[in-house]
């Protein structure tokens, strides 16, 4: 019945379409008087010069942040820089392009030879990583607009339970993997699509995303920087590099006097307590567990890789070309009636269906490999997390975890040795959790 109806509409609409196509185009008139048609204006995009300015400003902010955090150790000066970045990179530059999103451009440029990576995007991707290698995550401290807006609202941070911190901390790795898969296959720029704060910078956007951003900001009042800690895929790269930093945040400017006053100073849970002295028997037990985990790691990666491979058709369907091809195929077989907006648009182009199927097959193949890798990646991340949890490093003092520390300089004020360093009465107010 449905089918018949569809054919009926096709039949009825046929003469109309034919009529429209038969319509003679009006020949452009020949005017008697000297009529000059207006020319089409083509205003150009933002001049390239400004993108060099953006790079210079990013570089300047990174240098200044390194100086303020590591040398001057001044939270109040750093705060000014945070506000500047929020205004410039956030509200003035509409938060685009940012280091976090640049991951996708880099991936896309590697997988797609028609896309040349613009210099400014390359600089936004690489400079923060380079600075992390030398000074820790100073980019997160004061340059990142996403971090800045969360930093401003982090007023009453509470400690997140350790188990929750560790489990939620896995999400950025998964997000990074997914973002790379979707960018490499040219399917979507997930990080941009789900950027929670960009609609705030642009003062407008989709309702769902605005809500997501608002929720994160509200949450950010009591949980310090939730996006940075539990979502940000660029943070993963910074995490890897920051531990190699030559100069990094030390809570105390000189000798630690073991007062333990800084224990709760970090709003982002980045301060590790000293480890208790371990007995010999416990150590050997831990070593055994570690050996088992390391042996299990490849098996785990293989298992999750296989799961990823199985979910490849599902993931591939999120690619617009693949989902269009499936729809057109169903229509061709008469399994569905009517057309969607998308399939109608495709038919309008007059390309043969086979061409579309071929495109889709190519993308599906990419997804097969990509989903394997994504799955294996998930397994590796989970396995590595378990290993890292049993690899306890010995600490005698409270120390800032170089991977997790966002170099915000808040904890300095909790250290009595720091107050000795500062001239009397010139000290700033302690900003840590109440």
């Amino acid at each position: 019945m449905r089918r018949a109806l569809f054919q009926l509409t096709v039949l009825l609409s046929a003469p109309v379409t034919a009529w429209a196509q038969e319509q003679e185009k009006q020949p452009p008139p020949e005017f008697s008087a000297g009529y000059q048609p207006p020319t089409i204006t083509i205003p150009g995009p933002r001049a390239e010069l400004f993108s060099y300015l953006d790079i210079a400003i990013l570089f300047g902010v990174l240098c200044l942040a390194s100086y303020l955090v590591l040398k001057k150790r001044s939270r109040s000066d750093l705060r000014v820089l945070v506000v500047f970045s929020l205004l410039y990179f956030g509200f003035y530059r509409y938060g685009c392009v940012c280091a976090v999103g640049s991951i996708q451009n880099v991936t896309f440029a590697i997988s797609n030879h028609n896309y040349a990576l613009p210099l400014v995007v390359g600089a936004f991707f690489l400079l923060p990583l380079l600075f992390a290698l030398f000074f820790g995550r100073v980019f997160c401290a004061a340059a990142c607009p996403l971090g800045a807006i969360q930093d401003v609202v982090a007023q009453r941070p509470r400690r997140v339970p350790l188990w929750l911190e560790h489990s939620l901390g896995l999400i950025p790795y998964l997000y990074l993997g997914a973002a790379i898969l979707f960018a490499a296959t040219g399917s979507a720029f997930l990080i941009c699509e789900y950027d929670p704060f960009i609609s705030l910078f642009r003062l407008g956007g989709k309702v769902e995303i605005v809500t997501f951003g608002a929720v994160l900001l509200l949450l950010g009042i009591v949980v310090g920087r939730p996006y940075c800690r539990f979502l940000c895929p660029y943070g993963v790269l910074l995490r890897w590099l920051a531990p190699f930093a030559r100069w990094r945040v030390t809570i105390t400017p000189a000798e630690c006097v073991q007062c333990h006053l800084c224990a709760d100073a970090c709003p982002f849970g980045a301060i590790n307590p000293p480890t208790p002295a371990e007995s010999r028997s416990r150590r050997s037990e831990e070593r055994k567990r570690l050996a088992v985990l390391i042996l299990l790691l490849p098996l785990l990666a293989l298992g999750t890789g296989w799961l990823g491979y199985r979910s490849s058709p599902l993931l591939a369907r999120m690619n617009p070309t693949v989902s269009l091809a499936e729809r057109v195929w169903l229509e061709e077989r008469g399994r569905v009636s009517g057309t969607t907006e998308t399939s109608a648009a495709f038919r309008n182009l007059g390309q043969p269906n086979e061409w579309l199927y071929q495109q889709a097959a190519g993308i599906r193949k990419q997804f097969d490999t990509g989903a394997w890798l994504l799955g294996a990646w998930v397994g590796l991340v989970i396995g590595w997390k378990l290993i890292a949890l049993s690899l306890r490093r010995q600490r005698t003092d409270y120390e800032a975890d170089p991977a997790a520390c966002l170099a915000c300089a808040r904890c300095y004020q909790s250290c009595p040795v720091e107050h000795l360093r500062l001239p009397p009465l010139a000290g700033e107010f302690y900003e840590g959790p109440a």
């Binding site: 452009p28 048609p37 648009a345």
Partner: protein, 186 residues
């Protein structure tokens, strides 16, 4: 701190190597990006031959009103008295009254050139990029009206929000040095 100094220095040595490597790699990469052609990057543009005038361009752009505007290729235009970009396709009665205008914001102005020709002109600040006029011109006219992303308004999102939803996949990256895909005669 409790670590033996030998271990410490070895770790420091590796870190030193990684840092130097990183510095060299980053300078090399940035240098090659800067000296390569097309380092100016890309912008988004609508391929007018793919666009099916779905009206999403008016609502999905992150700037409001939309950075997408109607553009007129005068060389293709028939200068019709009854322009179906300007007027709704009623074929009886008084068709040229204001309530019969197609454009919701009255952004298309027409001026008399000579009998029987009129010039159609887009008042860009009023245009919201809804493509209704383009529909009319495509279906019944010469197809000289079409949509383009105007780069004085577009903020060049890393991922164009309209491209995400465009049913025709008509929004593509183009080199910033050639930022328009204009319709021409032929």
């Amino acid at each position: 701190m409790a670590e033996p100094s030998g271990k410490k220095s070895r770790r420091e040595f590796i870190a030193e190597g990684i840092r130097t490597g990183g510095l060299v790699a980053v300078s090399g990469a940035l240098g090659s990006l800067a000296t390569r052609a097309h380092s100016g990057g890309t912008v988004w543009q609508i391929d007018p031959h793919k666009c099916v005038q779905c009206e999403k361009c008016a609502t999905e752009c992150v700037v409001s009103p939309s950075a997408v505007k109607c553009v007129h290729a005068y060389a293709m235009c028939g200068y019709c008295r009854l322009c179906f970009g300007v007027f709704k396709d009623k074929r009886t009665g008084n068709t040229t009254t204001a309530e019969n205008h197609r454009c919701p914001t009255d952004a298309i102005k027409r001026t008399f050139v000579e009998d029987p020709y009129y010039e159609m002109y887009i008042d860009e600040p009023l245009c919201i990029g809804c493509a209704l006029c383009v529909q009319g011109c495509e279906r019944f006219g010469n197809g000289s009206l079409f949509l383009q992303i105007r780069h004085d308004r577009c903020v060049n999102c890393n991922q164009c929000a309209i491209a995400n939803v465009c049913p025709a996949q008509a929004i593509v990256r183009v080199p910033a040095s050639q930022p328009y895909l204009l319709k021409t005669v032929g």
